[in-house]
Protein backbone atom coordinates (compact mmCIF):
# COMPACT_ATOMS: atom_id res chain seq x y z
CA UNK A 1 0.00 0.00 0.00
CA UNK A 2 1.35 3.38 -0.98
CA UNK A 3 0.04 6.71 0.20
CA UNK A 4 0.63 10.25 -1.01
CA UNK A 5 -0.29 13.04 1.36
CA UNK A 6 -0.85 16.57 0.09
CA UNK A 7 -2.10 19.72 1.78
CA UNK A 8 -4.79 21.66 -0.08
CA UNK A 9 -5.64 24.68 2.09
CA UNK A 10 -6.97 23.24 5.35
CA UNK A 11 -7.68 19.84 3.78
CA UNK A 12 -5.37 16.82 3.87
CA UNK A 13 -5.60 14.96 0.56
CA UNK A 14 -4.86 11.24 1.06
CA UNK A 15 -4.20 9.45 -2.23
CA UNK A 16 -4.19 5.71 -1.62
CA UNK A 17 -2.75 3.08 -3.92
CA UNK A 18 -3.00 -0.69 -3.60
CA UNK A 19 -5.13 -2.97 -1.44
CA UNK A 20 -6.64 -1.46 1.70
CA UNK A 21 -6.86 -4.22 4.32
CA UNK A 22 -5.97 -4.52 8.02
CA UNK A 23 -2.25 -4.97 7.24
CA UNK A 24 -2.17 -1.88 5.01
CA UNK A 25 -4.16 0.20 7.50
CA UNK A 26 -1.65 -0.59 10.27
CA UNK A 27 1.08 1.01 8.19
CA UNK A 28 -1.01 3.97 7.11
CA UNK A 29 -2.77 5.21 10.20
CA UNK A 30 0.15 6.96 11.89
CA UNK A 31 1.31 8.55 8.61
CA UNK A 32 -2.09 10.21 8.26
CA UNK A 33 -2.55 11.03 11.93
CA UNK A 34 0.74 12.93 12.26
CA UNK A 35 -0.62 15.43 9.70
CA UNK A 36 -4.01 15.92 11.37
CA UNK A 37 -3.03 18.74 13.75
CA UNK A 38 -2.25 20.88 10.67
CA UNK A 39 -5.60 20.40 8.91
CA UNK A 40 -9.35 20.66 9.38
CA UNK A 41 -10.69 18.25 6.74
CA UNK A 42 -9.58 15.01 5.07
CA UNK A 43 -10.17 13.88 1.49
CA UNK A 44 -9.59 10.20 0.73
CA UNK A 45 -8.91 9.54 -2.94
CA UNK A 46 -9.60 5.85 -3.74
CA UNK A 47 -8.77 6.10 -7.44
CA UNK A 48 -5.96 3.52 -7.26
CA UNK A 49 -7.46 1.26 -4.60
CA UNK A 50 -8.33 -2.08 -6.16
CA UNK A 51 -9.54 -3.76 -3.00
CA UNK A 52 -10.94 -2.65 0.34
CA UNK A 53 -12.46 -4.56 3.25
CA UNK A 54 -13.95 -3.42 6.55
CA UNK A 55 -10.51 -2.42 7.84
CA UNK A 56 -10.52 0.37 5.25
CA UNK A 57 -13.91 1.47 6.54
CA UNK A 58 -12.45 1.47 10.05
CA UNK A 59 -9.58 3.71 8.92
CA UNK A 60 -11.97 6.23 7.36
CA UNK A 61 -14.42 6.11 10.27
CA UNK A 62 -11.63 6.55 12.83
CA UNK A 63 -10.29 9.64 11.02
CA UNK A 64 -13.88 10.97 10.78
CA UNK A 65 -14.22 10.71 14.57
CA UNK A 66 -11.01 12.71 15.03
CA UNK A 67 -11.70 15.59 12.62
CA UNK A 68 -15.46 15.88 13.24
CA UNK A 69 -14.73 16.67 16.90
CA UNK A 70 -13.05 19.87 15.69
CA UNK A 71 -15.83 20.64 13.20
CA UNK A 72 -13.95 19.21 10.21
CA UNK A 73 -15.30 17.08 7.37
CA UNK A 74 -14.22 13.85 5.72
CA UNK A 75 -15.00 13.29 2.05
CA UNK A 76 -13.98 10.56 -0.40
CA UNK A 77 -13.74 10.28 -4.16
CA UNK A 78 -13.10 7.95 -7.09
CA UNK A 79 -14.40 4.70 -5.59
CA UNK A 80 -14.30 1.56 -7.74
CA UNK A 81 -17.55 -0.46 -7.82
CA UNK A 82 -16.08 -2.98 -5.34
CA UNK A 83 -14.98 -0.31 -2.87
CA UNK A 84 -18.32 1.44 -3.30
CA UNK A 85 -20.25 -1.71 -2.34
CA UNK A 86 -18.37 -1.98 0.95
CA UNK A 87 -19.13 1.69 1.65
CA UNK A 88 -22.80 1.29 0.78
CA UNK A 89 -23.22 -1.68 3.06
CA UNK A 90 -21.85 0.28 6.02
CA UNK A 91 -24.10 3.30 5.52
CA UNK A 92 -20.99 5.41 6.06
CA UNK A 93 -21.84 7.68 3.13
CA UNK A 94 -24.34 9.46 5.41
CA UNK A 95 -21.32 10.79 7.32
CA UNK A 96 -18.78 10.79 4.51
CA UNK A 97 -20.00 12.23 1.20
CA UNK A 98 -18.69 10.45 -1.91
CA UNK A 99 -17.70 12.22 -5.13
CA UNK A 100 -16.57 11.01 -8.52
CA UNK A 101 -13.51 13.26 -8.79
CA UNK A 102 -10.97 14.78 -6.42
CA UNK A 103 -11.81 18.27 -7.69
CA UNK A 104 -15.52 17.86 -6.86
CA UNK A 105 -14.63 16.48 -3.44
CA UNK A 106 -12.24 19.38 -2.74
CA UNK A 107 -14.85 21.93 -3.81
CA UNK A 108 -17.31 20.44 -1.32
CA UNK A 109 -15.23 20.96 1.83
Amino acid sequence: MEVKLKLAGDTLVVRLRGELDHHAVNGLRSKIDTKLPQVKNILFNFNEVGFMDSSGLGLVLGRYKIVSEKGGKVVACSLSPGVNRVFELSGLQSKIPLYSTEREALNSV
Partner: protein
Protein backbone atom coordinates in the same frame (compact mmCIF):
# COMPACT_ATOMS: atom_id res chain seq x y z
CA UNK B 1 -17.02 -32.39 -3.91
CA UNK B 2 -15.09 -31.89 -7.11
CA UNK B 3 -11.98 -30.17 -5.84
CA UNK B 4 -10.56 -28.64 -2.69
CA UNK B 5 -7.60 -26.79 -1.21
CA UNK B 6 -6.18 -26.45 2.29
CA UNK B 7 -4.00 -23.65 3.52
CA UNK B 8 -2.41 -23.15 6.90
CA UNK B 9 -0.89 -19.78 7.77
CA UNK B 10 0.48 -18.14 10.88
CA UNK B 11 -1.62 -15.34 12.32
CA UNK B 12 0.26 -12.48 10.64
CA UNK B 13 -1.43 -9.54 8.94
CA UNK B 14 0.87 -9.92 5.89
CA UNK B 15 -0.99 -13.17 5.18
CA UNK B 16 -4.40 -11.50 4.76
CA UNK B 17 -3.76 -10.66 1.12
CA UNK B 18 -2.14 -14.03 0.44
CA UNK B 19 -5.13 -15.90 1.90
CA UNK B 20 -7.77 -14.03 -0.11
CA UNK B 21 -5.78 -14.21 -3.35
CA UNK B 22 -5.14 -17.96 -2.87
CA UNK B 23 -8.85 -18.72 -2.36
CA UNK B 24 -9.79 -16.45 -5.28
CA UNK B 25 -7.28 -18.23 -7.53
CA UNK B 26 -8.72 -21.62 -6.50
CA UNK B 27 -12.29 -20.42 -7.10
CA UNK B 28 -11.41 -19.10 -10.56
CA UNK B 29 -11.78 -22.62 -12.03
CA UNK B 30 -15.57 -22.33 -11.50
CA UNK B 31 -15.56 -19.33 -13.83
CA UNK B 32 -17.00 -16.70 -11.48
CA UNK B 33 -17.61 -13.10 -12.57
CA UNK B 34 -15.21 -10.37 -11.42
CA UNK B 35 -17.84 -9.18 -8.94
CA UNK B 36 -18.22 -12.69 -7.51
CA UNK B 37 -14.45 -13.00 -7.10
CA UNK B 38 -14.34 -9.63 -5.34
CA UNK B 39 -17.09 -10.85 -2.98
CA UNK B 40 -15.09 -14.00 -2.17
CA UNK B 41 -11.85 -12.07 -1.62
CA UNK B 42 -13.56 -9.60 0.68
CA UNK B 43 -15.28 -12.32 2.74
CA UNK B 44 -12.02 -14.29 3.15
CA UNK B 45 -10.19 -11.12 4.11
CA UNK B 46 -12.79 -10.42 6.82
CA UNK B 47 -12.68 -13.94 8.26
CA UNK B 48 -8.86 -14.06 8.34
CA UNK B 49 -8.61 -10.53 9.79
CA UNK B 50 -11.08 -11.51 12.54
CA UNK B 51 -8.96 -14.55 13.38
CA UNK B 52 -5.82 -12.38 13.65
CA UNK B 53 -7.29 -9.44 15.58
CA UNK B 54 -9.95 -11.14 17.70
CA UNK B 55 -9.12 -14.86 17.73
CA UNK B 56 -5.43 -14.41 18.47
CA UNK B 57 -5.58 -10.77 19.63
CA UNK B 58 -2.66 -9.93 17.33
CA UNK B 59 -0.53 -12.66 18.93
CA UNK B 60 0.80 -15.92 17.48
CA UNK B 61 -1.49 -18.69 16.26
CA UNK B 62 -2.43 -20.81 13.28
CA UNK B 63 -5.26 -20.15 10.85
CA UNK B 64 -6.55 -23.01 8.69
CA UNK B 65 -8.43 -22.23 5.50
CA UNK B 66 -10.23 -24.82 3.42
CA UNK B 67 -12.02 -24.10 0.18
CA UNK B 68 -13.97 -26.63 -1.83
CA UNK B 69 -15.93 -26.62 -5.04
CA UNK B 70 -18.95 -28.75 -5.81
CA UNK B 71 -20.17 -27.80 -9.24
CA UNK B 72 -20.37 -24.03 -9.01
CA UNK B 73 -20.82 -23.93 -5.23
CA UNK B 74 -17.82 -22.65 -3.31
CA UNK B 75 -17.53 -23.45 0.36
CA UNK B 76 -14.90 -21.75 2.52
CA UNK B 77 -14.03 -22.70 6.09
CA UNK B 78 -11.76 -20.47 8.18
CA UNK B 79 -10.67 -21.88 11.54
CA UNK B 80 -8.71 -20.37 14.39
CA UNK B 81 -7.83 -21.89 17.77
CA UNK B 82 -7.91 -18.60 19.63
CA UNK B 83 -10.01 -17.03 22.38
CA UNK B 84 -13.41 -17.69 20.78
CA UNK B 85 -16.50 -15.50 20.72
CA UNK B 86 -18.70 -15.52 23.82
CA UNK B 87 -21.67 -13.75 22.24
CA UNK B 88 -21.95 -14.60 18.53
CA UNK B 89 -25.28 -12.76 18.11
CA UNK B 90 -23.69 -9.54 19.34
CA UNK B 91 -20.55 -10.05 17.24
CA UNK B 92 -22.68 -10.37 14.12
CA UNK B 93 -24.55 -7.10 14.67
CA UNK B 94 -23.70 -4.47 12.03
CA UNK B 95 -21.32 -1.83 13.40
CA UNK B 96 -20.72 -3.76 16.65
CA UNK B 97 -17.06 -4.09 17.53
CA UNK B 98 -15.37 -5.34 20.68
CA UNK B 99 -12.34 -3.25 19.74
CA UNK B 100 -13.44 0.33 18.84
CA UNK B 101 -10.08 1.61 20.09
CA UNK B 102 -8.42 -0.20 17.18
CA UNK B 103 -10.49 1.67 14.58
CA UNK B 104 -12.54 -1.40 13.75
CA UNK B 105 -15.71 -0.66 11.79
CA UNK B 106 -17.73 -3.59 13.13
CA UNK B 107 -18.73 -4.55 9.59
CA UNK B 108 -16.79 -7.81 9.19
CA UNK B 109 -19.62 -10.31 9.72
CA UNK B 110 -22.12 -8.09 7.87
CA UNK B 111 -19.80 -8.16 4.84
CA UNK B 112 -19.38 -11.95 5.06
CA UNK B 113 -23.17 -12.41 5.28
CA UNK B 114 -23.90 -9.99 2.44
CA UNK B 115 -21.19 -11.02 0.01
CA UNK B 116 -21.62 -14.77 0.47
CA UNK B 117 -24.90 -16.72 0.25
CA UNK B 118 -24.47 -18.34 3.66
CA UNK B 119 -22.31 -17.66 6.68
CA UNK B 120 -22.28 -19.86 9.80
CA UNK B 121 -20.24 -19.19 12.90
CA UNK B 122 -19.39 -21.76 15.55
CA UNK B 123 -17.27 -20.70 18.48
CA UNK B 124 -16.35 -21.75 21.97
CA UNK B 125 -14.60 -19.58 24.53
CA UNK B 126 -10.98 -20.63 24.86
CA UNK B 127 -11.11 -23.08 21.97
CA UNK B 128 -11.54 -21.02 18.85
CA UNK B 129 -13.86 -20.03 16.06
CA UNK B 130 -14.96 -21.68 12.82
CA UNK B 131 -16.54 -19.57 10.09
CA UNK B 132 -18.16 -21.53 7.23
CA UNK B 133 -19.33 -19.62 4.18
CA UNK B 134 -20.72 -20.67 0.85
CA UNK B 135 -21.57 -19.04 -2.44
CA UNK B 136 -23.14 -20.34 -5.62
CA UNK B 137 -21.60 -18.74 -8.70
CA UNK B 138 -24.00 -17.70 -11.42
CA UNK B 139 -26.98 -17.79 -9.08
CA UNK B 140 -29.27 -15.13 -10.49
CA UNK B 141 -31.29 -14.90 -7.26
CA UNK B 142 -28.18 -13.73 -5.49
CA UNK B 143 -27.17 -11.18 -8.08
CA UNK B 144 -29.55 -8.58 -6.67
CA UNK B 145 -27.42 -7.65 -3.67
Amino acid sequence: MDNYMKLEIPSKSQNESFARVAVAAFAAQADPTIDEITDVKTAVSEAVTNAIIHGYENGPGIIAITASLTGRTLEIIVVDYGVGITDIEQARQPLYTSKPELDRSGMGFTIMESFMDQCRVVSKAGEGTTVSMSKVFGDIDNKMS
